[in-house]
């Protein structure tokens, strides 16, 4: 088991290094620099600015500095656009908001998606199944910001008719602020979870041990809940890890539409600003997150499914 964990972590670190390297060189190949402006900066001043941020050094040297700070000190550097702003601090203050947004949307997705998938699986081929799957397809294909826009429109419509604002349109800081963006963000996950649950239910219900349970005389409820759902939910739960990571790192459109000061919104802005350190820092952080999630999921799978554990022992 320990060997398993050690191998996973080593692979993870190597992957991180590869991502950091690739992103570093890709970013520096983009045209322009953080200080481009319409008003011409006198060459002397421009030279000083480039010097301050080590942009005048050879690229490989800059790369070496970056990797050293990253792996030895876990220091992602200073923003090139906002003077003195440490990328580590920026992630520390902004990521929790994206995290809460992502977490809330996953919880909503679980609460809505799993029952939806179960119903679809149980009534396979019938009307309820088709209905659930239409909802699922819509959820996967329609971008989240459209749902966000619809929700905002509803609030404004109510305000227009009754002069009451039932929810804040945008921003962050109180519980009402979380409601609309997390619902909008959850739609995609609801669809994915529902489809997975449905497929899983259908597969499980066709198993021999279900037939045995029926033959033993257990009632429908016990068969479905105790044996059916409990087994069908396994693959869905293990998928939640990467899904959560994907949703949390991909929330920048919702963050922009709802003006949430999360990591995603800041990240997309940094690319436009040629703010190398912020862009690189967020990419590395996201990569870390995803890699960590995947390692956890691998471990969880091993723990939860005894067949995998036994298989490992036998090795």
């Amino acid at each position: 088991m320990l060997k398993f964990i050690f191998k996973k972590i080593t692979m993870g670190i190597l992957t991180l290094w590869a991502i950091a390297t690739l992103t570093f060189f890709l970013l520096h190949s983009l045209p322009g620099d953080p200080f481009a402006s319409e008003k011409k900066i006198p060459p002397v001043i421009k030279a000083r600015l480039m010097e301050k941020y080590n942009l005048d050094k050879p690229l490989v040297y800059q790369y070496g500095l970056y990797i050293k700070d990253l792996f030895l000190h876990q220091d992602l550097g200073i923003s090139m656009k906002v003077r003195g702003r440490s990328v580590n601090d920026m992630i520390k203050s902004n990521f929790p908001r994206s995290f809460i947004l992502g977490l809330t949307s996953i919880i909503i997705a679980i609460i809505v998606g799993i029952p939806l998938g179960i119903i679809a699986g149980l009534h396979r081929g019938k009307f309820l199944d088709s209905l659930s799957m239409i909802v699922a397809v819509l959820g996967i294909s329609v971008p989240s910001f459209i749902f966000g826009g619809i929700l905002q429109w509803i609030v404004l419509f109510i305000k227009f008719k009754t002069d009451v604002s039932i929810l804040p349109i945008a921003g962050w800081g109180t519980f009402p602020h979380i409601i609309m963006p997390s619902i909008a963000l959850s739609i995609f996950s609801i669809a994915v979870i529902a489809r997975m649950m449905r497929a899983s239910m259908i597969e499980v219900l066709a198993q021999d041990y279900i037939r045995t349970a029926r033959a033993k005389g257990l009632n429908n409820f016990q068969i479905i809940v105790k044996h059916g759902i409990r087994n069908a939910i396994m693959p869905v739960i293990t998928y939640l890890g990467p899904l959560f990571a994907a949703v949390t790192t991909g929330s920048f459109v919702i963050e922009t539409v709802f003006s949430i000061p999360g990591l995603g919104r800041y990240f997309s802005q940094s690319i436009l600003d040629n703010d190398y350190t912020v862009t690189l820092g967020v990419v590395v952080f996201y990569a870390c997150l995803l890699i960590a999630m995947m390692i956890l999921v691998d471990l969880a799978y091993g723990l939860i499914d005894p067949r995998i554990r036994r298989g490992a022992k036998n090795e």
Binding site: K39, R83, G84, L156, S165, T174, V257
Partner: protein, 540 residues
């Protein structure tokens, strides 16, 4: 399993409580306060006014700092920290008031300005706007590290409340120039403690203006409060300014409709909904937008061809249809809101004297004549590339020019939308045929628009424009202390520019904002500070 679930729920509850900032008390406290909620369109990247270059930072620093002079409701220069000033040839003397205070109670003294300006010019600061001080004796040399001794620079403290500035050349608009944020003072004691940290957070900044910086939550919001010890604080009617950072214009519009904010930038698409509303406030931002023509290309070397392009663009349609009213027709280079001798420059030297805003027949005639002189045909010219910034606005305008030049001159135009960075790069490398460009003022005088086309300037060199007569006129204006002469001379230079037509001006930009009816007196202007909350009040 149950225990783990409880643990999970407990963790989630903790996270929620953390996220919920608990800002419900605010609503009750605010009922008695005069609060303005203003949208910031981005996170201010630099709150040290001596180093900042962008307009968003200028909004905040303009409220929390005060320079030697400031602008009143009518954009005229009035005393700020300096209660009076004198001009004797190349020397300006500023007399500071004795009751101006920093927000921590310290007096604002001459050293605070001298040290701040030294820091701007110090090459180690790499201040991008240091060039704005180059009219001061030896400022340029000090900034370029050719002189190491600051005492040689023409900025002197005479005593704690007197500053003497020596210039290289007469600058009639010097009092206007020093109202700009690069010239703001710094609390010298405080700066010595902060050094490189100065301006990097709300704890690392002390201002002397009508408002103080209460909170700067990075990427989230800025909060200002009325400064208790501002020397003129009895006239300030606003207690608090909340500035949430809202990047998306449509989101800001929806937030405005939900009554959660008082002033926003209005997205062009929704202007028609508010055309007759008193909430729509439009103002010129004193920027000129024009087509830049690369005169290294044979066909653009001909003056008649360039003039033809100017006549071929229907500016009324551009401003009304394409820009939805967010512009004024421009057949000149200096915008309407720039001051001239006594009134506005454009009032004293009307742009109708230069050329017509649209004349397709004349355009065709000039173009044919030009082609004949060049001994070229349209086929020889080929497809013309028009470089625009890849924003919705840039592309929309580009398509309009494409259509107009095709319709009226038979030119095949290919639109090339590129990022701002790439546009700058290609412009610097002269890798372009036509570019859609804009220019805004650094100070309130026509010179900030006109000296960029001198043959020695890199902007003129990029388009291969060089005119000795133009250079002579600009230098004559720069050398004179007689403001009437300066204005007349600059008008002559502009007339020459509009005849040679190295660039084709099309419109002066207007900005649309929405302002809730209970908020009055917020001054909007082209130069910093914009907006200005000095004269604002809430009507209950």
């Amino acid at each position: 399993m149950k225990k783990k679930l409880y643990l999970l729920f407990g963790l989630m509850a903790l996270l929620f409580l953390n996220a919920c900032g608990g800002s419900n008390k605010k609503a009750d406290e605010q009922k008695d306060l005069n609060v303005i909620r203003y949208q910031l369109e981005s996170n201010p990247p630099e709150l040290d006014p001596n180093l900042s270059t962008d307009t968003v930072s200028g909004i905040v620093t303009g409220a929390i700092f005060e320079g030697l002079t400031r602008l009143n409701k009518n954009n005229q220069i009035i005393p700020g920290v300096a209660e009076k000033w004198e001009n004797d040839g190349l020397t300006w003397t500023f007399y500071l008031r004795k009751d101006a205070k920093w927000h921590n109670g310290d007096n604002v003294v001459a050293d605070d300005f001298v040290n701040a300006w030294e820091r701007v010019l110090n090459p180690n600061s790499a201040a991008q706007y240091a060039y704005i001080m180059y009219s001061i004796k030896n400022a340029k040399e000090y900034n370029e590290d050719l002189i190491k001794d600051f005492s040689k620079v023409g900025i002197k403290k005479i005593d704690d409340y007197t500053i003497k500035v020596e210039l290289n050349e007469p600058v009639a608009y010097f009092p206007s120039l020093v109202s700009f944020y690069t010239f703001y003072p710094q609390n010298s004691k405080f700066h010595k403690e902060q050094l490189d940290n100065y301006g990097t957070s709300d704890k690392a900044l002390i201002g002397n203006g009508p408002f103080e910086l209460k909170e700067w939550a990075f990427e989230s919001k800025v909060i200002l409060e009325k400064a208790k010890n501002y020397w003129n604080n009895e006239v300030i009617k606003i207690d608090r300014i909340e500035m949430p950072i809202i990047l998306d214009r449509t989101t800001a519009y929806n937030v405005y409709k939900n009554d959660e904010i008082d002033i926003i930038v209005m997205p062009d698409e929704f202007v028609d909904n508010h055309k007759d509303s008193e909430e729509l406030v439009a103002y010129e931002d004193a920027s000129i937008w024009y087509l830049s023509l690369n005169q290294d290309l044979k066909w653009l070397k001909n003056k008649k061809v360039r003039q033809a392009i100017a006549y071929a663009i229907n500016r009324e349609d551009l401003v009304n249809e394409v820009k939805n009213g967010s512009g004024n027709v421009a057949t000149s280079y200096v915008p309407n809101s720039i001051h001239g001798y006594e009134k506005f420059f454009r009032e004293e030297y009307p742009q109708s004297n230069y050329f017509e805003a649209y004349n397709p027949e004349k355009a065709k005639k000039l173009f044919e004549e030009g082609l004949k002189e060049l001994k070229m045909t349209r086929e020889d010219i080929g497809t013309v590339s028009l470089l625009v910034t890849s924003s919705d606005v840039g592309v929309k305008e580009g398509q309009f020019y494409q259509e107009q030049l095709n319709k009226n001159l038979g030119l095949q135009i290919q639109l090339e939308p590129v990022t701002f960075q790439i546009r700058l790069q290609r412009s610097q490398r002269k890798d372009f045929q036509m570019i859609l460009a804009g220019w805004g003022p650094d100070y309130d005088d026509p010179m900030t628009f006109l000296d960029m086309w001198m043959s020695t300037s890199s902007y003129a060199q990029e388009i291969a424009f060089s005119n000795k007569e133009y250079d002579k006129l600009i230098l004559a204006a720069k050398a004179s202390n007689d403001n009437k002469f300066r204005m007349d001379t600059m008008a002559k230079a502009e007339a020459l520019l509009m005849n040679e037509m190295p660039i084709v001006p099309t419109f002066f930009r207007k900005k649309f904002t929405l302002v809730k009816p209970h908020v009055k007196g917020v001054v909007r202007r082209a130069l910093s500070p914009d907006p200005d909350f000095y004269y604002a009040e809430i009507i209950k």
